[in-house]
C-alpha cells in the first residue's frame, strides 16, 4: 500500500485555546507530511467532510487525527482502507495540564506545547511504521460445535446453538443424557414466580433436543484429544477408559525435567524423557486422520459430589453415624421414595440440614454456593411433603438465595414445619436411636440442641476439571487449563468481565464446571457459552480476533530465520497459542491467538510483531520523544516514558482527563495492547536516549489478577525485575524503572501515582546519557 499522509488537528474542546496550533501544525510538516489541516470541530459534519474529501480527492490513506482520545468517536474517525492514528490532545494534554505559560508571555518553557508536539510527532512516526493488517484465513474451516458433557448444561447449550443454526455434537461419558438433573426427585424453580419446587425439567429438554436433526449425541464417549485451533479443531473420541494412541500426551512435569543433582536435563534428554513419559501416545502435532472436525468447543462437564476426606466431618457424625449423609446422598434417598433413615429404614421425620462445617470458621462447605443453600431448602420441603408432622431444620452461616430465588426462600419460610437459623453446628451425637444436633450462636440466642432422625451436610459440587483435564487439548502447554488452582479447580472464566471464556480460545465453559450453580443458572449459562462459541466461529472464519480484542485483524508474524528456539513465546503465551516442534521452533495457531502481544514482549530476538503494532513502531515512537538537554535549556525538564495498558490504565487516564485532574507534564504516554507485550528493548531505548525514567501502568496481577490477557501484567512484572542487570550495565539506578497497578475506577489515584514517581526520578537527578 502506497501511503499518503494527512495530519488533522481539531481545535475544539479547548485544544485551540491551550495550544499554539500554528506552531503545532508546523511539526508534521517538518516530518515531511504535506497535508496538515486544522478544524474547529473535526467530529462535526463539516470536519468529517474535510477528512472524507481528502481521502477521496487527495488519496490520503494514512491519517493522524490530533483531537480527542481514541476511546471516543472511534466509529466516527474510522475510514475503510485507511490507517488512522488518534493523538490524544484533549484528555491527555489540554484537559490534564493547565497552561504553564500565560498568553503573550515571553520566555519560559511552554511545557504543554512541547507535549502536544511530541505526541503529534509520535503519531506521525507510528503511521509511517505500521501497515494495514490483513486477516489470517484458515484453509479449512469447520462451523460445527462440540459439546462435552450431556447434562442440563450441555443439552441447553446444544439446543441454543442448534436454534441459531449450528451443527452440534454432544459427547457424554455415561450411557444416557441428562446427568445429575435426571437423578433428582424434584428441582428448584426455573421460572416465575420462583416459589415452589417442580418436577425435573430435564426430560422436556431432552425431548426438545431430539427435535433438532443437527444435534448428534454420542453417549459412552469421551474426548481423547482436541488438536488444532478454533475453526479447525481435530477431535479424537474414544470410549471411557480406553487407551488409544491419540490420547493426549502430557508435558513433562517440572520435577522430571531435573537430573539427580537438581540440574535441568539438556534438550535432547528432555525430549527422550517426554517420549518415555507419554509412551504409546502420539505427539501433539500428530493429527488424527480419523478425527472429527469442529470449530469451537463448549465445556459442560459438570461436577461430582464432594468426597469428605477421612474423618474431616467426624464432629458432625459423618462416617460414624449412618444417618448423617451428604445432600447428594439425601437426594438419592428422596428420589427413591419416602425419606427413611439409612440405619433402620424408619421414617425420618426430623431432619437437620447443616450448611457450614463450623470448627470455629463460618465458611460453608468447600465447593458450596448459593445452590447448596437452595438445595437445603428444597430438601427441607421433601421432609414436609413426606410427613405432615415432619420437621426440617436448616442451620446456616450463609443463606444465599440470589435474585428471584428470594421468592423461593420466602415460600419455604412460610412452611410451619421448616425452621431456619444462622448458627454454628458444634456436634452431632447419638441419642437413643436418633441423634442430637448441638449449635452455638443461633438466632435463638444461645446454645441449642435439636433432636434429629437424619442429618444432611450441604457439601459442595466439585468441578470435573478437579480430577481430569477433560478437554485434553493437544497443546504444548498441556491438555488442561493452567492456573485453575487459583479458582479451586473451577475453569477460570472471569465472571464479571469475560464469563464463559476460558484461557483457551475456542473453548467455552458453562454450568457447574465454572462454579456451583442451580439448574436455572446453568440453563442461562449454557446460552452464554453457546453464543460465545458462535462468536468464536464467526470471528475465526473472518480471520479476526474473537475476544477481548474482538475484530482485530492483526496477528503475530514470526521472522523464523532469526528464531533461536528459546521457547519463551511458547511457554509464556497465556492462551497456549503456540506449539513447538522437537527443535523448539514455535508453530503459531493464529485462531487460538488473542493478539495481546505477550509473545512479542517475550521474544529476546524481537522477531515477533503485528502489522500495526511491533517492536519498530513503538520503538520509533519512543525515539521520537524529544529529550530536552542542556543544549536546549539552562535547566532542562526531565522526561519520563510511560507504557500504558490499553484496557484499564489508558481509560483511567482518560477519565482523569474528563475529571480535569492534573498530573505531571514531563511524562509521555504510549498505549500498549497489554503490559505483556512490552519488550524491554523499548525501555532500554528510552533510557539510552536520555529519558530519566520509565514506568509501566497496567492491571493488577497475582491471585486476584485483573489482566485482560490473564498473564500479561504478571509477566511484565517478572521482566521488570530482571531489567536491573541491563540498567546496571548502563550505570543507571533500578528505581528509574517501575510498574504500577491500576484499575479503571482508580483514575483518581493517577495524579499521586505519577507524581510520586516523578519525585523519585527528580531525586535521582537527570539521566547522564542526556544529550548524547
Amino acid at each position: 500500500m502506497d501511503k499518503k499522509y494527512g495530519v488533522y488537528i481539531c481545535t475544539g474542546c479547548g485544544i485551540g485555546e491551550a495550544l499554539n496550533v500554528e506552531k503545532l501544525s508546523a511539526v508534521p510538516k517538518e516530518e515531511g507530511v504535506g497535508i496538515v489541516k486544522t478544524h474547529p470541530f473535526l467530529c462535526g459534519k463539516e470536519g468529517l467532510e474535510l477528512l472524507k474529501q481528502d481521502i477521496a480527492g487527495e488519496g490520503v490513506n494514512s491519517l493522524v487525527i490530533g483531537a480527542c482520545s481514541r476511546r471516543v468517536n472511534f466509529d466516527i474517525f474510522r475510514f475503510d482502507g485507511c490507517i488512522v492514528d488518534r493523538v490524544n490532545l484533549r484528555e491527555q494534554v489540554v484537559w490534564t495540564h493547565p497552561s504553564t505559560k500565560k498568553a503573550g508571555e515571553e520566555g519560559g518553557i511552554d511545557h504543554i506545547q512541547m507535549m502536544a508536539e511530541d505526541y503529534l510527532k509520535m503519531g506521525v512516526i507510528k503511521i509511517k511504521k505500521i501497515t494495514m493488517p490483513e486477516p489470517y484465513k484458515l484453509d479449512a474451516f469447520c462451523r460445527k460445535i462440540l459439546v462435552i458433557g450431556g447434562g442440563i448444561a450441555g443439552i441447553s447449550a446444544a439446543v441454543d446453538a442448534a436454534k441459531a443454526g449450528y451443527e452440534v455434537t454432544i459427547v457424554e461419558k455415561e450411557s444416557s443424557l441428562g446427568g445429575y438433573a435426571a437423578k433428582v426427585r424434584k428441582q428448584l424453580p426455573v421460572e416465575n414466580p420462583f416459589e415452589s419446587i417442580i418436577p425435573p425439567v430435564i426430560s422436556a429438554r431432552i425431548k426438545e433436543l431430539e427435535s433438532f436433526p443437527g444435534i448428534t449425541v454420542k453417549t459412552n464417549t469421551v474426548v481423547a484429544r482436541i488438536a488444532g485451533q478454533p475453526g479447525d479443531f481435530t477431535v479424537s473420541l474414544k470410549k471411557p477408559g480406553e487407551n488409544i494412541e491419540f490420547d493426549v500426551p502430557f508435558p513433562l512435569p517440572p520435577e522430571m525435567k531435573l537430573d539427580s543433582n537438581g540440574k535441568e536435563h539438556d534438550k535432547d534428554k528432555q525430549i527422550e524423557l517426554y517420549k518415555e513419559f507419554n509412551k504409546g501416545k502420539l505427539d501433539i502435532l500428530a493429527l488424527d486422520p480419523n478425527g472429527e472436525k469442529f470449530g469451537a468447543v463448549i465445556l459442560t462437564a459438570g461436577w461430582r459430589p464432594y468426597n469428605p476426606e477421612g474423618n474431616e466431618f467426624a464432629h458432625l457424625g459423618f462416617g460414624e453415624l449412618p444417618d448423617v449423609v451428604t445432600n447428594t446422598q439425601f437426594e438419592e434417598i428422596a428420589a427413591k421414595g419416602r425419606i427413611t433413615r439409612p440405619s433402620d429404614g424408619k421414617d425420618a421425620k426430623s431432619v437437620v440440614f447443616i450448611q457450614s462445617p463450623g470448627k470455629g470458621s463460618d465458611n460453608d462447605f468447600s465447593y458450596a454456593g448459593s445452590v447448596t443453600s437452595l438445595v437445603s431448602l428444597k430438601q427441607a420441603k421433601y421432609v414436609r411433603e413426606d410427613y405432615p408432622d415432619g420437621k426440617a431444620y436448616v442451620f446456616y452461616q450463609h443463606m444465599r438465595t440470589p435474585g428471584l430465588m428470594e421468592n423461593f426462600y420466602k415460600s419455604i419460610q412460610q412452611d410451619p414445619g421448616i425452621f431456619l437459623t444462622k448458627g454454628e453446628v458444634v456436634s452431632v451425637s447419638k441419642n437413643g436411636d436418633g441423634m442430637i444436633v448441638e449449635a452455638d450462636n443461633t438466632l435463638l440466642g444461645e446454645k441449642i440442641k435439636v433432636k434429629a432422625d437424619m442429618v444432611v451436610l450441604a457439601t459442595g459440587m466439585v468441578p470435573a476439571t478437579a480430577d481430569d483435564p477433560i478437554i485434553n487439548l493437544a497443546y504444548r502447554q498441556g491438555p488442561g487449563f493452567r492456573d485453575i488452582d487459583l479458582f479451586n479447580k473451577y475453569t477460570d472464566s472471569n465472571f464479571i468481565c469475560f464469563p464463559y471464556e476460558t484461557q483457551r480460545t475456542g473453548v467455552y465453559a458453562a454450568g457447574c464446571i465454572r462454579r456451583s450453580m442451580t439448574m436455572e443458572e446453568t440453563i442461562e449459562d449454557a446460552t452464554g457459552a453457546a453464543l460465545k462459541a458462535i462468536q468464536c466461529i464467526e470471528s475465526s472464519n473472518r480471520g479476526v480476533a474473537v475476544h477481548p480484542r474482538s475484530g482485530d485483524m492483526s496477528f503475530p508474524d514470526f521472522f523464523f530465520q532469526r528464531c533461536t528456539q528459546c521457547k519463551r513465546c511458547t511457554e509464556e503465551c497465556p492462551f497456549g497459542a503456540l506449539d513447538d516442534d522437537e527443535k523448539g521452533t514455535p508453530k503459531p495457531n493464529p485462531t487460538r491467538c488473542r493478539r495481546c502481544g505477550t509473545c512479542m514482549g517475550a521474544c529476546p530476538e524481537r522477531i515477533i510483531g503485528f502489522a500495526d503494532y511491533n517492536i519498530d513502531s513503538i520503538g520509533s515512537m519512543v525515539k521520537t520523544i524529544k529529550v530536552p538537554s542542556e543544549n536546549d535549556f539552562d535547566n532542562p525538564p526531565l522526561r519520563i516514558l510511560a507504557l500504558v495498558c490499553e484496557n484499564d490504565a489508558y481509560p483511567a487516564l482518560d477519565i482523569a482527563g474528563m475529571n480535569r485532574l492534573n498530573y505531571s507534564h514531563i511524562v509521555r504516554f504510549i498505549p500498549v495492547r497489554c503490559l505483556g507485550s512490552v519488550n524491554v528493548i523499548w525501555i532500554k531505548d528510552a533510557l539510552s536516549q536520555g529519558m530519566d525514567g520509565v514506568f509501566l501502568l497496567g492491571c493488577r496481577h497475582g491471585d486476584d489478577y485483573q489482566c485482560h490477557f490473564v498473564k500479561g501484567s504478571e509477566l511484565a512484572s517478572i521482566r521488570m525485575k530482571k531489567i536491573g542487570e541491563a540498567l546496571q550495565s548502563l550505570a543507571l539506578e533500578n528505581e528509574r524503572v517501575a510498574q504500577f497497578e491500576i484499575a479503571i475506577d482508580e483514575y483518581d489515584k493517577l495524579p499521586k501515582m505519577i507524581g510520586d514517581f516523578v519525585e523519585i526520578i527528580e531525586g535521582l537527578g537527570p539521566n547522564p546519557f542526556k544529550g548524547f
Binding site: 425452621f419 444461645e446 446454645k447 441449642i448 440442641k449
Partner: protein, 377 residues
Amino acid sequence: MTDKYMIEPDVNFIKDIEALGGDTLKKCFQCATCSVVCPISPDNKPFPRKEMIAASWGLKDRVLKNADIWLCHNCGDCSTKCPRGAKPGDVLGALRSLAIAEYAVPKSLGKAVNDPKKLPLLILAPVIIFIVLGLATGLLDFTPSGDEVVHSKFFSTWLVDIIFVPLAGWVAVIFALGIKNFVSDIHENAVLTGKTDKKDFDQKDYVLALIKVIPTILKHSKFSECGENKERSSGHLMVLYSFVGLFVVTNIFFVTLYGLQIHGPYSQMNPVKWLANISGVALVAGGYLLMKSRMDKKDQTSSYKDWYLIWLVLGLGLSGMLTEITRLAGWAVGSYAIYFIHLVFVFNLFAFLPFSKLAHLVYRTLAMAYAEYSGRK
C-alpha cells in the same frame, strides 16, 4: 449459661398463632427492624424480634412465659416498618391471647372464648342460668307490677347478686391462680434469658413496683409513645376510665343497698348517678373510637378476639344506656328486655374476664410492674 436449650418446636402452636391473627409470623427474616423502630421496647433484650424468632420456631414456653409480650401496646410501628410484610404487632397480639388462654383454667373455656363458633354458647349460657335460677328461686318475674319501671321487680337484685357475687369470686380465684403462675413464670423467664440480675424474687419490692406503674397506666403514657396507632390511646383511655367509674358506682350502690337499705332506682340528681351516666357515655364513645380505629387501620389484622371485646364493650355500654333511657321513658317491656340483654353482656364480661382479651388488664399491669421491678430499660 452452659446448659444447652433443647429446642422442640410445636408446630400446632405455630398454627394457633397463625389462626389468631399472627399469620404473617413466618415472613420474619430476623432483620430486627421491629425492635429498632419500637418506641417502647427496652434497650436491653428488646422485643419483638426475639419473640418473632421464638414464635416462628414454635417455642411455646419461651414466648408465653415472657413478660415482654405484655409490654407491647400493639402500636403497630413494627408492623408498618417491617421490610418483609411480617406484622410483629399482630403476632404479639396473638401470643397474648394464647397466653391468656394458657393461664386461665379451665382451658376449654379459654379456647371457647377465642372461637367464634362457640359465641352462641357463650351468650346462651347466662340466658339459661338467669332463667333457670330465676324461675327456681322465683326471683325472676316476667310480669312485674306497678306503673313505674323498676328493674328489680323484673330481675330481682337478689338474683343479680346470687349470680354475680359468686361469679366475681370465681373470677378472682381463676385470676389468683393465673397471676401466681404468671408472675413466677415471667420471673423465671427473665432470669433465664438475662433480662434481670435479680435472681431471687422479692414480693415486697414487686408490690411497690406495682404501685409505681399505676400512674403510668392511668396516664397511658406508654400508649402515647406509639407512632402508628396513637389515636387508639384516647378511645382506650375512655374505656378504661369508664370501667373504673362503673366499678366505683357499682360498689357504692352495693353498699347503699345492703348497708343503707336504700333501693334503686336512684335520683338523677345523685352525684354517683352522674358518675354512672358519664362513665356509660364514655364507655360507648370509647368503644366506638376503638372500633373505628380498627376499621380504619386496614393494614393491621383485627381478629375475632379483638372484635369480641369491642362488641362486648359497645354492647355493654349501649344496653346499659338504653336500659336507663327506656326506664325514664317509661317503656316497661322494652326496658326489661334490654336490661336482660344488658345483664347477659355483664355476665360475658365478668365470667370470661380471665379468658378474653380483657384479661390484659391484669397481665399487662403485672408485666409492666415486673419490668419496673426488674429495672428493665
